[in-house]
């Protein structure tokens, strides 16, 4: 096949000039989907105003020193619908998500703040259940709920309940984990079966009853990260592939580190029931959200040891090497398909929408 397409740089593809991505007059849902539009909103609207050396890293949290302590600091908001789903609820998610953002900086999570925005009319029992769930998740994780805030808005001005949590953690001496450190030759590991969270949520929303109910994988990953760091190996990047899924997370890393990634589709662990649900719903599991999985970039020589450490941890039992970092095609993730072909896996353009047939 011959191609005479104009030469395009990764920057063009990802939303810098000349793509007219920013010509939306208002915010649409896809601005929050973790894909290209989200990135564009941050790059074009938020960063120019907020710019500083901490935020520019565009990691899951910021790492800085106060005195001789290295701290990680992060924040995240939770607006999931439905608020209760198989495997968890919005409260549990709000603890795990922020704990995981800290863990992805290599930090030990210590303190969380919790802010509620509650829609008038939320049943008190639901609120109690959520608060209890937050406390249980915090206890299980060993973080202290240090401060909080509660606001109530008119009926219809929010969807039942929104939660924001911020977190502070301690980063050990010598730990340097950030997307920019991805290096050519690094192996890429995933900690287990992907796409369960998004599919659990979608199944409830679509009213799909599967023979084996698919539960969200929501879980705190700091213990698994401890286990990885305990190998003493130099871990370059950790990332939890939440919104936008594995591909959006990997795409982002290729951008910030200026490297290319080669993925092997057949090595990516996906449960059969999730695969089946994705087929039914017309979704690609690579773009579906996870809430209890991480991606690790480690030097090839350390991959075996790190993989073994992950598999020895209950949350990493099904860990696998799924790809590697290459100097070819910087800025892009190229995947060897199941049948031996290949394709680029790109960030989502917007919301992932089910296809007609």
């Amino acid at each position: 096949m011959t191609t005479n397409a104009p030469k395009i740089s990764p920057g063009d593809l990802m939303g810098s000039c000349p793509l007219p991505l920013g010509d939306y007059q208002g915010i649409v849902l896809a601005h929050g989907s973790g894909g290209k539009l989200s990135g564009d909103l941050i790059q074009k609207v938020v960063l120019p105003q907020f710019r500083n050396e901490l935020i520019e890293v565009l990691h899951d949290g910021a790492v800085f020193s106060i005195g001789d302590q290295r701290l990680a600091f992060t924040t995240d908001s939770y607006v999931v619908n439905p608020i209760f789903f198989p495997g968890g609820d919005i409260g549990k998610l709000a603890v795990h998500g922020t704990v995981n953002d800290l863990a992805m900086c290599g930090a030990r999570p210590l303190y969380l703040s919790v802010g509620f925005i509650i829609e008038e009319g939320l049943p008190m029992d639901d609120f109690r259940r959520i608060v209890r769930s937050i406390r249980e998740a915090a206890d299980a994780t060993g973080v202290i709920l240090a401060t909080g805030d509660t606001k109530v808005v008119d009926h219809g001005k929010a969807d039942k309940i929104f939660i924001n949590t911020s977190g502070i953690g301690l980063v050990r001496e010598g730990v340097q984990i950030q997307p920019k450190r991805a290096q050519v030759g690094d192996k890429i590991l995933v900690s287990g079966f992907i796409a369960s969270h998004g599919i659990a949520i979608m199944s409830v929303r679509e009213g799909l009853d599967f023979e084996n109910a698919i539960a969200s994988d929501t879980a705190p990953l700091h213990g698994l990260v401890e286990a990885i760091l305990a190998t003493g190996r130099d871990v370059h990047v950790l990332r939890d592939p939440t919104r936008g899924g594995v591909t959006s997370a990997l795409s982002e890393i290729t951008q910030s580190a200026g490297i290319g990634i080669r993925l092997d589709e057949s090595a990516i662990p996906i449960r059969n029931e999730v695969k089946g649900a994705c087929e039914i719903l017309g979704l690609d599991p690579l773009y579906v959200a996870n809430e209890g999985k991480l991606l690790a970039f480690v030097p090839a020589a350390a991959a075996g040891e790190v993989l073994a450490a992950m598999r020895a941890h209950p949350l990493g039992r099904d860990a696998a090497v799924i790809g590697e970092v290459t100097s070819d095609h910087p800025g892009f993730v190229l995947m060897k398909t199941r049948i031996g072909g290949s394709r680029v896996v790109d960030m989502l353009s917007g919301e992932q929408l089910p296809r007609i047939c």
Binding site: L13, P18, V28, L29, F332, T337, S342
Partner: protein, 372 residues
């Protein structure tokens, strides 16, 4: 995964590809009719397994792509009304009309909902008796029975607040139009598996005969597509031109007769304008007179307007298999899935969008395949 992994097996794929390499003696141009097939081909890199002599060109079978701009504008005019709950298949939401897309209308307060089946709309209609529930009934023969069933049930159950905006299109007239075009290059077809699951494949036999083209009714998994290519190639190399069925696990010669009867009861054939191609006689369905109470085009006062597509866009030629997406100067630069200039960039199943999504404009894969 059972019944799926078997059709995505690397060793089997290599085996069929080897057979294709062994058989081919000269260049051939094959068209896969369906957008779903195009999507699979590009997603799995199936064309990279084929010999250079076999060129796959992408057909008009992306229902979202070929829905005319005028019809999309009508849909938007309906969706904007405060009394309407507008329901659609998911991938229609991003398709731009003249002014906006359904996602933007939703962000401005329109009640736009994604449904997986038009039957779901009946539930929505029953639960919202004060609202008018409208379903955007697009698609080929594949989606027609579901849409017909929704209307038929609405009438039987007296659900008066449900209607559909019909923009159905039919495959055989489009194939005829392609074959009759002076620009035609297509020498064989991978026929539309799911359309034929409904309609059977008798109506393709006169086309194969009249135009001397092999038509192999083909499925959507990698194995299906490779086998479809192999079967079409065998015919071409031996000078045969008949209809064959690669997809017997889903398609029977006579199709699904109950579905066909229902479609006939509810719809009648009409002329239809295709985005990027123009009007093709007797190439669509419209609701029969007795179901006019459920016909959104009649219920809402909608103006017919003539719309022009951007002149740089080659989507009409891409839909007819005359051009490839990357032949277009706007492809990947002025025209992207975020800012589509034409039909084939608007849906995931459109050839241009599939090429873009899977990075075909980046020239990375060939190199990678050579290394492998």
């Amino acid at each position: 995964m059972k019944y799926l992994d078997e059709y995505r097996n690397e060793a089997m794929a290599r085996k069929i590809a080897d057979e294709i390499h062994r058989l081919v003696t000269r260049p051939w141009v094959l068209m896969e009719v369906c957008g779903g097939q195009t999507h699979s081909i590009v997603k799995y890199g199936i064309d990279h397994l084929l010999p250079e002599q076999i060129e796959l060109v992408h057909g008009p079978g992306c229902p979202v792509c070929v829905t005319s701009l005028e019809m999309i504008d009508k849909a938007h005019a309906i969706a904007r009304r405060p009394e309407v709950i507008f329901c659609s298949f998911g991938d229609m939401l991003r398709v731009p009309g003249s002014e906006a897309d359904l996602l933007v209308l939703k962000s401005r307060g329109a009640d736009v909902r994604v449904v997986y089946s038009p039957i779901d709309c009946l539930k929505i209609a029953r639960a919202n008796p004060g609202k008018k529930v409208v379903f955007f009934a697009i698609g080929f023969e594949t989606t027609a029975p579901g849409n017909a069933m929704a209307v038929w049930q609405a009438q039987r159950q007296g659900i008066g607040n449900f209607s559909i905006l019909v923009s159905h299109v039919l495959v055989p007239p489009a194939m005829e139009a392609i074959l009759q075009s002076p620009l035609n290059r297509v020498q064989g077809f991978l026929g539309p598996g799911h359309v034929c699951a409904v309609m059977g494949y008798r109506e393709y036999e006169p086309i194969a005969e009249r135009h001397r083209v092999p038509i192999v009714i083909t499925g959507f998994e990698p194995m299906d597509l490779l086998e479809g290519v192999l079967m079409a190639l065998r015919q071409l190399e031996t000078g045969r031109a008949v209809v064959e069925n690669q997809y017997p696990r889903v398609v029977r010669c006579e199709g699904n007769q109950a579905a066909q009867e229902l479609v006939k009861k509810v719809f009648e054939i009409c002329d239809r304008k295709w985005r990027g191609v123009g009007s093709i006689p007797r190439s669509g369905y419209k609701l029969r007179e007795e179901f006019c109470d459920h016909d959104a085009e009649r219920l809402f006062d909608l103006k017919d307007t003539e719309k022009q597509e951007p002149s740089i866009c080659l989507s009409g030629l891409v839909l007819q298999g005359v051009k490839k997406p990357h032949d277009c100067p706007a492809f990947g630069t002025q025209c992207t899935p975020q800012h589509p200039l034409g039909a084939t960039m608007v849906s995931a199943e459109g050839a241009c969008a599939a090429y873009y999504t899977y990075g075909r404009h980046l020239q990375l894969e060939k190199k990678e395949t050579a290394e492998a």
